[in-house]
């Protein structure tokens, strides 16, 4: 466990050693705020909640999280440092988990820095802070799931750009599967309702929305946990498979 912690600390510190981290945080904050105020009309709609803020998170994560995830393994492979990492006295699983946790924590920090908008709605009205807390929690979980997908796909290739595009595409598909657009298409095929429900059940959006309403449903939390676990396990398998290359 302490090995994971050491790896986690080293990785997290390395994020802040480069200007990229600060650029990322600044872009994330500016975008999140601009989206909520201009596209979401947070001020004009006059409701003291953070719905317009959280509504744009999936779409922002769709591009920003893969940008962080792409360098998780692709860079290590390209520079060859992966060989070094794997000769250290850490298991593959520990390495995958430690790196993932560091990246997740980094996104968590970026998310925490959006606290001014929370203060803003509390100044403007009397929001339901329980629901806002749930919103942050669901947003963080969803980012974790995106990141786990990115971690796996970043291990597939040594080209960061390819890793980025692959992650965006897979995450986009996983998001869309809950949309009525896609569901209507499937129900047009006369598939049994259970299959359609299962497809809808695979969507990031449905689960994140459910938590964002202020209700922590065990099913939603299990969904994200299982998703993260699956993609991390897949990361380990992929790295193991590619070791020979």
């Amino acid at each position: 466990m302490s090995l994971i912690r050491i790896l986690f600390k080293r990785e997290l510190a390395s994020y802040f050693a480069t200007p990229v981290a600060y650029v990322f945080i600044a872009i994330f904050l500016v975008l999140a705020m601009a989206f909520s105020f201009y596209l979401g009309g947070l001020y004009e709609r006059g409701q003291a909640d953070l719905q317009p803020f959280f509504n744009f998170h999936p779409w922002m994560f769709l591009f920003l999280v893969p940008a962080i995830a792409m360098r998780l393994w692709a860079e290590e492979r390209k520079s060859g440092s992966i060989e070094l990492l794997l000769t250290l006295p850490v298991t593959l699983w520990q390495a995958v988990f430690g790196k993932f946790l560091a990246a997740w924590a980094f996104i968590g920090i970026a998310l925490l820095l959006t606290v001014p908008i929370w203060i803003t709605v509390n100044y403007l009205g009397d929001p339901d802070n329980g629901a806002i807390l749930a919103g942050y929690f669901s947003s963080f979980l969803m980012a974790g799931a995106f990141l786990a997908v990115g971690s796996c796909l970043s291990a597939v290739t040594r080209n960061q750009v390819i890793a980025f595009i692959l992650t965006v595409v897979v995450c986009f598909l996983l998001m869309l599967s809950g949309f009525s657009l896609v569901l209507d298409f499937f129900s047009g095929l006369n598939l049994p309702q259970a299959v359609i429900d299962a497809i809808a059940g695979m969507s990031f959006l449905t689960h994140a929305n459910a938590i964002g309403k202020g209700v922590l449903d065990l099913r939603d939390i299990l969904y994200f946990t299982l998703m993260i676990a699956f993609w991390l396990y897949a990361t380990a398998i992929v790295i193991d498979m590619k070791k020979a290359d």
């Binding site: 802040f16 500016v30 209700v215 897949a234 992929v238």
Partner: protein, 617 residues
Amino acid sequence: MFTLNRKTLSGSTLIVLAILLVAVLALVNTLFRGARIDLTENNLYTLSDGTKSIVSEIEEPINLYFYFSDKASADVPFLRNYANRVRELLEEIAAKSKGKIRLSVIDPQPFSEDEDRASEAGLQAVPVGQGGNSIFFGLAGTNALDGKAVIPFFSPDKESFLEYDVAKMINGLKSDKKIAVGVISSLNIAPGFDPATRGMREGWAAYTQLSDIFDMRMLNPEATTKIDPEISTLLLVHPKTLSDDTLYAIDQFVLRGGRLMVFVDPSGEQDQSGADPENPQAAMFASKSSDLPKLFKAWGINYDPNQIVLDAGNALPIQINPAAPPVQHLAIMGYRKDNLNHDEVTTAQLDTINFSTAGQFSLAESSPLKLVSLVQSSGDAMLTESDRIKFMQDPSTLYEGFKATNERYVLAGRLYGKLKTAFPEKSGPDHLAESKEDANLVVVADTDVLSDRLWVQMQNFFGQKLINAFADNGDFVINVVDNMAGNSALIGIRSRGVSARPFTTVEAIRRKAEQDYRNKEQELQQELADTERKLNELQANKSTDNAMILSPEQQRELEQFQQDKLKIRKDLRNVQHDLDKDIESLGSRLKLLNILVLPLLLTLAVFGLHHFLRRRA
């Protein structure tokens, strides 16, 4: 023999895992229904214990049909939000019922059989939106015994009582027997034989309405020694001559968990006591007050039958002399929204309840009960001797000595809590010394509130009696009896908060801006009027003196005035224009702060923190 190489093994492991993941997720979805923590402030997504207990007691299956025009409501997002909330609540209830409630969600398309069925069940099609589409948004229910119930339309402004309404409907579908309500009354509220006119007497409108819904049973005030166990709710109206046995029966009834509604009055105008054809004066001197001293004392309720509430804040105008203007009668009060408790389901939806010569309640310090006011006077009120009413000719005399106490008196309230018997000396096999569960009482310090003259006009329409209500007294009584007679679990379902949360800060700015605008507008209008008046004067002077020629001074003045007039008009337009300026500028400031200033500052702060930590390490 062949060996799988490492790659295919891992590849197939991944595929197997992926399939496993989908399967496990599907399983999780069905297995862990309802395992959730509700973080919302008002527990919007959690069923109250009352609803759960009602749902768990269902024996025969109940069918619920939730109609919502999904397609037709596409451009009414706020209604769709609310419909989602309703559907989730219904699903949650159905999930908790162990299959006893079968919920069907139906989207009635225009001109379809579903639409016909919805109308037939009693749902209201409400035209919403610009397209003029009619939307069905209601709930119909049936049980195995041909019982039917309907919520014609889920109105978003009744959101706080959503769960109560649904639970009440389900509770009603559980059995189809009319609930028995006992009545002990010294007033002739029920229809019966009238010895004075030797004819049939009609019951009071409130009673007639109650008997449409409930199985009303009149009990003898003097000879009732035991209250039928079938009776779960008892109405006690103007108790005057109750025997000790009857009081004991009521005491035990309440301790057993029976629900009691008491109407007492310091001065019951319908009280005929002392009426004697030989001596017309007797009725005037007879006491018209009622009280329940023994039980009130044991329960810790303070009520004084010799005092009435005078309320200048809600006094109703009464026409005494047809030639004179109506007089505000301090003892006849019309209570409106401000005086009715919005959080109680019995009063939340009512507009007006009229009271006449009412008393008031408070709790003694030793009382084991909790008092929730249903109707409260304004602060502009005081108490006075009820005797002043007795021989009063002119209601304006009530103003003599009127001095508001700033206390808001409780005219009607709900009481709950554990009670002890008022008859500790009695014993017996069935004797209860204290209540097992919380007792539920409603006390009202007025009996006139029930009488027709305060809330209905009766009209005879081709032999048909039409009830024309001008106040909600009848609804109030029905609501309370309905609430009390219902499942005890139903009483416990409180109203929930509404999910709308406006920007209070912005509203305050808007209100202030509007106020400023009105002031400024008035000021400028005044100035404009003055200027115009001066101009006219000038013009008038001019025409009398030398009509055609203007002196240079006059000319200048005229121009000056005209310029002033234009300027004032412009100012007024600007003020109107500036109305939203404060709000907009607050918005711009917040946007600038949130979108640019704070993100950059925070990023810099993280940068600084990182360097600080690194240097220390």
